[in-house]
């Protein structure tokens, strides 16, 4: 069986790539920092005046301190690293943004309306649900997100999809549930006293059950 493309797998593989790079680089810097401090530490608690001072230790710029090569190494190294990160980011972003990459020729199109404080989901046939989105497993779902009042943000953390719900504007996202179950939807932009309770759920059901419910 071919594994279906999901937004969360794309996101997590990118995340691990970044994490690997970040941990490696931070480890190198921390290692160097620790080495330098331990290697060049003086033990004396109260330094005597005889403790020699570097002759270059002075106000202004010391001509003997620092060449351009380390700077170029840092700039060049990071530029190469960022080039790699950016390429993979742009690729992932394109897939996560555009439902045509889902491989589903006829995605289910849902309109999402945020309001103070809840979510309304409107199906193509006019069916409307408040606080719950029922979707068939395996099908790509495209969301058209907007708001009826203030600035909200739609997010389903399990699918790693998010778009702001802004009055007067439409934003798009897509996802695909591969397993039956209930998934959290929440508002991620402060929208007033009800913000924390602006929660809905995505209910993924098998396609047959969905079809029965949808056509009923």
């Amino acid at each position: 069986m071919v594994e279906l493309l999901t937004t969360e797998t794309i996101w997590y593989s990118l995340f691990w790539f970044y994490l690997m790079a970040a941990v490696t680089i931070s480890a190198l810097v921390f290692g160097f920092m620790t080495f330098v401090v331990l290697r060049y530490r003086t033990k004396s608690r109260n330094p005597a005046p005889s403790d020699p001072i570097d002759e270059d230790f002075r106000l202004g710029v010391s001509p003997k301190r620092g060449g351009v090569i380390p700077v170029l190494v840092i700039v060049g190294g990071l530029a190469v690293l960022f080039f790699g990160l950016t390429l993979s980011t742009f690729h992932a972003n394109e897939v996560m943004e555009d439902v045509s990459h889902s491989g589903d020729p006829a995605p289910l199109k849902i309109r999402v309306e945020g309001y103070q404080w809840g979510w309304i989901f409107v199906y193509p046939n006019g069916k409307k649900l408040d606080g719950e989105l029922i979707v068939p497993v395996g099908k790509a779902v495209q969301l058209e997100i907007t708001s009826r009042d203030v600035y909200h943000a739609f997010k389903a953390p399990d699918f790693k999809i998010m778009k702001d719900a802004i009055p007067g504007r439409l934003n798009y996202a897509w996802f695909r549930a591969v397993e039956e179950g209930e998934y959290l939807v929440q508002c991620y932009e402060l929208c007033g006293v009800g913000h924390a309770r602006m929660i809905a759920k995505i209910k993924a059901v098998d396609p047959g059950t969905f079809q029965n419910w949808y056509t009923s």
């Binding site: 394109e94 943004e97 555009d98 045509s100 007067g168 504007r169 439409l170 934003n171 798009y172």
Partner: protein, 95 residues
Amino acid sequence: MAELGPVIAFAVVVALALFQASAVILGVLDPQLMTGLVLAASFAQASLVYVFMMHARYTSKGVLLLTITALLLLIPLFLALLYSVELPIHVPRSR
């Protein structure tokens, strides 16, 4: 004659203002061309005031540097705002 520069600049600024206003009132020019001309005239006026009335020409290069920086900083903001005009519907772009 230190006064000569400001006086000439003043005359040019007023002439440009008269030109702007008459171009719009007469309305004989193509609208896009007219908009361009009006804005170009404003920038010319502003430069004249900057150089002659604020006597920027007597200041050090640091002042010019700061002025240019200030104007440069605004360009990205201007572009970003223009690129955000996508009302009412933003359709995801496929490449």
